[in-house]
């Protein structure tokens, strides 16, 4: 008995569908449930599964054909069977129609089930209510519940092409009101996204704890100073010209700042100190830490004995530390023993910022970018000069304002007159 393949009705209001392509060819064997063809309604494109196993035959509609729903578009045959002639006009010789009780017929019709697909268990294999109910339950998805919505909500949803099903109703028994539809058009329909959760661990946890201890436990005091970087930049340029020939790494602002800071620290040992209980320890070494931003957090490798090193050596050391930091190959020794920290956010374009002291140190210098600024010269003229702003954060328990000011003034002096480094 040839089994007809009909154009299925996929939506309540659908009248036709367009065939996109047959996934099986005439004469090919198909299994029940295998994708047979692809059709397109005005809303979706969908694979149609084969209603039965058999050989595909009598295909009478091809790609791009618009076919009314429920129309026969092909047959599935058993081996040796022939497709019925006059596919469209001549209905297949009717098999004795399955007998069914009126309620079973109504139920089946409501559920869109063909009685032929239902096995009857009643007297003389009559299909009864229970058979249809079983068949309905066997269908993959139960028909979705109708969305409750006011007529006004439905109208607005229609006008604004909002799927009512996606709208949460605020009315009685969850009924969708007009305002609900309007709100849903304002906010995007996707659910609220949960934040990405990252556990506080490793370097991040260490930073969090140390920063909190420092900020809460150390009374910070801040001092900002402008520096004319003209001479500094000249000196750096001439050093770099030489470095190139000597195949020594580039002298960055940071490198030269480390040298200058070490020079100033040597003259102001209180800035290079630490508070241990009831004692202030003025430290014998000047070890300048450099804040380096890594993906996973901040790390501060240390240039030891910065005051004793030449610029070329500092440049090599900084270059090596930064490279190793970026590669995650810093050793504990590389980050230990710092006595003062330098944080330079100039490369990011930051003009001025404050930093939190890196305990047990007594101070940290936050350096911004060098930018051309209108400046009043000693002669009273407005001139454009390269200007850098640096902000010192100091532990106010051991460093008074005047002391910090003197240190910053001395640092500015050496930055503005780099030849003093020779002093």
């Amino acid at each position: 008995m040839a089994i007809p393949v009909i154009m299925p009705k996929l939506e309540m209001t659908q009248e036709t569908a367009t065939i996109i392509e047959w996934l099986k060819q005439e004469g090919e064997e198909v299994e029940k449930g295998e994708p047979l063809l692809v059709v397109e309604t005005d809303k979706i494109t969908v694979d149609i599964e084969s209603p039965a196993s058999g050989i595909l035959a009598g295909v009478c509609a091809g790609p791009a054909d618009v076919v009314p729903v429920t129309e026969i578009i092909a047959y599935l045959l058993k081996p040796g069977e022939a497709a019925p002639q006059e596919v469209v006009s001549a209905p297949t010789p009717p098999s004795p129609p399955p007998t069914a009780t009126p309620v079973a017929r109504r139920l089946a019709a409501t559920a869109g089930l063909s009685l032929g697909e239902i096995a009857g268990t009643g007297p003389s294999n009559k299909i009864c209510k229970a058979d249809v109910e079983r068949a309905i339950a066997a269908q993959s998805a139960p028909p979705p519940a109708k969305t409750r919505a006011t007529p006004a909500a439905r109208r607005i949803a229609r006008e604004r092409a909002v799927a009512l099903r996606t709208v949460t109703g605020s009315g009685p028994r969850g009924r969708v009101q007009a305002a609900d539809v309007l709100t849903s058009t304002i906010t995007p329909e996707r659910p609220e996204q949960a934040a990405e959760v990252i556990p506080l661990q490793g370097i991040r946890r260490t930073i969090a704890e140390r920063i909190t201890d420092s900020y809460q436990g150390v009374p910070h005091v801040y001092f900002t100073m402008r520096v004319d970087m003209g001479e500094f930049e000249k000196a750096r340029a001439s050093l770099n010209a030489r470095m190139q020939r000597a195949a020594v790494p580039h002298v960055s602002v940071t490198v030269l700042l480390v040298k200058a800071v070490a020079w100033a620290l040597k003259r102001h040992p209180w800035l290079n100190s630490t508070l241990r209980g009831a004692e202030i320890h003025l430290l014998p070494e000047i070890n300048v830490g450099i804040a380096v931003a890594l993906e996973e957090g901040l790390i501060v490798p240390v240039v030891r004995h910065a005051d004793l090193k030449g610029v070329a050596e500092i440049a090599r050391r900084v270059n090596e530390l930064v490279t190793r930091a970026r590669e995650g190959r810093l050793t504990p020794a590389d980050v230990a023993g710092g006595t003062f920290t330098l944080s330079n956010l100039g490369p990011f374009g930051i003009e001025q910022f404050t930093a939190i002291i890196n305990p047990p140190q007594a101070a940290i210098l936050a350096v911004g970018a060098t930018r051309p600024e209108a400046t009043v010269s000693p002669e009273g003229q407005i001139v454009i000069r390269p200007v850098l702003r640096m902000t010192l954060a100091a532990d106010h328990r051991i460093i008074d304002g005047a002391l910090a000011a003197r240190f910053l003034a001395e640092l500015r002096e050496v930055l503005e007159n780099p030849t003093l480094l020779l002093w």
């Binding site: 006011t150 007529p151 006004a152 109208r155 009315g171 009685p172 009101q177 007009a178």
Partner: protein, 328 residues
């Protein structure tokens, strides 16, 4: 403007029309020497005499037949049925004869009469003297049904009804007779088939008739203090009905409460609800159409029970609030 009662406004309309047109006369039980059971025709007998203010025996069917016949001969009679309940007795003439004659004679005969009658509970008159039977007549093609809710409307609609060439059932309300309101002294008409927005609002539409218009306005004033702005629409004539203002109002507010005193089942509210549901206002509804009407029971004699048999201000407030707050 001068303020007079609903009863005085009706009397003024009758007097002015009787002075204007000698074809106008009054006929009913105790309308002459006694001045009417509710005093509406008081003083008219003295002014116009027994030829034009005619007392009849207790025969409602006789009154209805007399005005039907008189109207056919070119008179403009105004009949009075003392209580609307007894319109049942007059129905044969009104429903089977008056309503159909113009149609059956191909428009060659007209019936320019008015049948006035008071409806409604609230006076302790019990089940046989308290009914609101307007929908009995709304149902009959060929009859016009008018239900004024204010003194101003009473005068303008009664004059328009007297001048109309069709049978008009003019339904007054016993509790409205003493209600005062501004009424111009000169004659004026309000067209039959012109609803009126009695109060404007955005949150909810109340369509009410007769005494329920007054109660709805009172309810609206209370609700306004809660921030709920109610629009009150009075159809004024149930037939022909001016549907447009009702539909516009529902399209504006999205919520509608229909209030009438007549029993809910088979009442005019069902007609209004269907009209709204069938109209373009349907797509603007934000809640089911709600009716608040008289209970499906005879009006009890017991005053407490009588009070609870028909909608009161507090019932309107409660139902309107529920509807406006989206709880229905």
């Amino acid at each position: 403007m001068r303020e007079i009662t609903y009863s005085e406004a009706l009397r003024e309309a009758l007097r002015q029309e009787m002075r204007r047109d000698e074809h106008v006369f009054i006929i009913g039980e105790d309308v002459g020497i006694y001045g009417g059971a509710f005093g509406v025709t008081r003083g008219l007998f003295e002014e116009f005499g027994e030829e034009r203010v005619i007392d009849t025996p207790i025969s409602e069917l006789g009154i209805a037949g007399a005005i039907t016949g008189a109207a056919l001969t070119g008179m403009r009679p105004v009949g009075e049925i003392m209580f609307m309940d007894f319109m049942t007795l007059a129905s044969e003439q009104l429903v089977n004869q008056a309503a159909k004659i113009r149609f059956m004679f191909g428009g060659k005969a007209t019936l320019p009469f008015v049948m006035r009658t008071p409806a409604g509970a609230g006076t302790g008159a019990a089940a046989q003297h308290s009914q609101s039977l307007e929908n009995w007549f709304v149902h009959i093609p060929g009859l016009k049904v008018v239900m004024p809710s204010t003194p101003y409307d009473a005068k303008g609609l009664l004059i328009a009804s007297i001048r109309d060439d069709n049978p008009v059932i003019f339904i007054e309300h016993k509790l409205l007779y003493r209600v005062k309101g501004p009424v111009p002294e000169e004659p004026y008409t309000i067209p039959l088939g012109a609803a009126e927005i009695k109060r404007e609002g955005q949150d909810l539409t109340i369509v009410a008739t007769s005494v329920m218009v007054q109660r709805s306005l009172e309810a609206a004033a209370q609700l306004a203090s809660e921030g709920i702005e109610v629009e009150v629409v009075d159809p004024r004539t149930l037939k022909p009905l001016d549907a447009e203002p009702i539909i516009r109002s529902v399209m504006k507010t999205g919520r509608v409460l229909i209030v009438h005193e007549a029993c809910k089942t088979g009442g005019y509210g069902g007609e209004l609800a269907a009209l709204i549901a069938e109209s373009e206002a349907f797509d603007y509804l934000e809640a089911p159409i709600v009716r608040l009407a008289g209970r499906d029971m005879p009006i009890p004699y017991n005053r407490t029970l009588e009070y609870h048999a028909v909608p009161q201000v507090e019932n309107i407030v409660a139902k309107a609030r529920e509807l406006a707050q989206g709880r229905i």
